[in-house]
């Protein structure tokens, strides 16, 4: 539709003829079958008693919601998910922005290093999880290295601490995705005009002032995209946490998706669907104000 160069004025809309509506059907069919219907069913099944224990599926009203909110597990999982998402958003953006600033200049070395930092993004998340699980074991490589440096026997249970393990896992998640944030920040930095930077330099701005007053404000659109995708994407996190801690220790990293997986495994399909509906709604409810706030930041400029 945007290819139509002549403005559509008056009653006659000539582009209708060369783009008939039925051209939409193949794409629409894919959209409906693979996106629309599953989402719809996510809503429908949440109000039934679908389980692996019987063949018939009956309407159950708000029963699933009542029992899920009745015991604290769902709220706890929701809390863990939010904490995890915020941590990932912070770390991933800090790492990504730091890398982008470090590798900003287009030298040959920088190009190679950028590729190296992008490799984790295309790696399988489960593989990343299992690698870190091995590295972070009490007798794993990380403790070995620390032990070598300090000259003492170190056996810190990185993945066995009920307070700090969620931070460790969030850092692993951020490590995997930081290359993507880096790429977007790099693209953002490229859009900053040389004249602006030069003017800043002529005014005597140092590195820090240049970053704080010019680069960072002008990166606002990149920040919006990176924060929103990291925050909302990690709300749907599962693979890395499942591979490293399986929700442990003591349920302190049990994301909602892990809880859903466990519930589904118990055969309580309707309840698992209800939970994923709750997750869907939470992400939606969170997405609007977050994106609006970040967009507002862009407007101020």
């Amino acid at each position: 539709m945007s290819t139509n160069l002549t403005p559509a004025t008056g009653a006659a809309r000539p582009h209708r003829k060369d783009h008939p509506l039925w051209f939409l059907i193949p794409a629409l069919a894919v959209l409906v079958v693979f996106f629309f219907v599953p989402t719809l069913f996510n809503f429908v099944y949440a109000f039934t008693d679908w389980s692996s224990f019987k063949s018939e599926i009956n309407f159950a009203g708000f029963d699933n919601f009542a029992s899920l909110f009745g015991n604290g597990t769902l709220l706890n999982a929701l809390k863990v998910t939010l904490v995890y998402a915020v941590l990932v958003a912070i770390f991933q953006n800090l790492f990504g922005l730091g890398l982008a600033l470090l590798l900003e200049r287009d030298t040959r070395v920088n190009r190679a290093v950028r590729v190296a930092f992008f490799v984790p993004v295309i790696m399988s998340a489960l593989a990343v999880g299992y690698i870190f699980q091995a590295l972070l074991k009490p007798d794993g490589a990380l403790n070995g290295i620390i032990g070598l440096l300090t000259g003492s026997d170190v056996s810190i249970p990185w993945l066995g601490n009920t307070t700090w393990t969620i931070v460790v896992v969030a850092i692993v998640h951020a490590w995997k995705w930081m290359g993507l944030s880096m790429l977007i920040y790099l693209a953002g930095l490229k859009t900053i005009g040389d004249d602006v930077l030069e003017a800043g330099r002529l005014d005597g701005a140092g590195r820090w002032t240049m970053f704080r007053s010019i680069k960072f404000p002008l990166l606002a659109p990149a920040v919006t995209f990176n924060v929103a995708t990291a925050l909302l994407g990690s709300m749907n996190g599962f693979d890395i946490v499942q591979a490293t801690t399986e929700g442990g220790p003591g349920g302190t990293t049990e994301l909602l998706n892990i809880f859903i997986f466990r519930t589904f495994g118990q055969g309580l399909f309707a309840q698992a669907t209800t939970m994923s509906l709750v997750l869907f709604l939470t992400v939606t409810v969170l997405a609007f104000p977050v994106i609006r706030f970040l967009r507002k930041r862009e407007d101020v400029l």
Partner: protein, 437 residues
Amino acid sequence: MKKPFRYTLALAAAGAMALTACADPGADSGSGGPVDWPAQDADLSGTTLTIWAAQNSNTVPDSVIAGFEELTGAEVEVVTVPDPYEQGVQTKVATGDKPDLAFWQPTASQLTALNASQNLQPLDDAPWLDAYEPELRDITGILDGTRYATLITTPAVQGVYYNKEVFAANGITEAPADWGAFVELARDLKADGVTPFHEMGADRWGTQWWVQVQLADAAADGLWDRVNAAEEEFTDPAIQGAIDTYNDLIEEGLFNEDIKTATFEDQGAALLAGDAAMVVQVNSFFGQLQSLADTDELNEKIGFFPIAPSGNVGTFIPDQSNALVAFRTGDADQESAARQLLSYWMGEGYQGFVDAQSTVSLQSGVDTPADVPDALLSVSESLGGSVGSMQASAIANPDLYIYLADMIQGTKTPAEVAEATQSQFNELAKAQGAEGF
């Protein structure tokens, strides 16, 4: 432009809804029980049977399949369903995908989870039943009075694996005869500077055995029937008491120091090396030991005794690799061929099967091969007098082990463990339509 687009979308959605809404996953027309059991060598040329197996059971049927294919001309395919196996199978069956046969935990809770009365063939009049050792014939595989699963190997027994050398070095010549003596023994060992027990808090699943072995006497007295009928709860004294005792023993320091981070692999290595004297575990733990040492070394070092409050009573817990179920596929010939394969497996093929697997025979007429390790013989000897575990006897299998692991990590109190387990049990029982929930 906008309006017709919306209209089309709504129409397409409505169409798709109408199409899919009729499909009822898991629905199947229940036919009557099979009456005929074909001869083991009946010709099956052109028939292909599918067996679903887990990653740790997919080579179990090899010898049987080879023999059966040669005898009947049938073709048998083993399809590996990735772990977590039970979850994968349940999901496939719920969406209408079924094999002819599958490895399956023959317990009431897991047969219920598969919706046995709808999806599985009853095996009530199977020809091999009388060949079983009498006390093993009806031990498991039965739901609501109908037999749906056939046991092929000895089910696991929860009990104590101990290091014989550590026992000998501390002057212990006899296994403790009851719970009191068992705990006393642990305290003596600790006083001598030996770590009495080893638990794997990080891998979680082994934690539940400690609670379950303490419930053996109550289980013999119908504990799980009462729990199934909502007459008794996990928070009532029997089960809560067992959880409390477990917690007390941990706090007393009778377990390994790294209980929070220890894994299944650590547990096997610790017992074999004598770093810990005893481990409460099931047969798969012995499988882990077998990957670390040969039969001679294991016979020398590792022993097994069952334990319960009142004496040496084991608690059995069959798992997926111990049994097979036959599915109702709706195709009478396929169903009959599946029954024929089971007949052969438990009939002419059984000696070859136990020999190939080096496993204990369940049938009085079939000999156990000589290379079965001593500890496994002790396990299978304890089976006859053992009682059902939660998995074997309760209608639902809540994640007790996760909550107990939470307790070890310090995020749940013993009381919260019981509450969380009961609340999950209620949900599962309600979903099954069990009375009283």
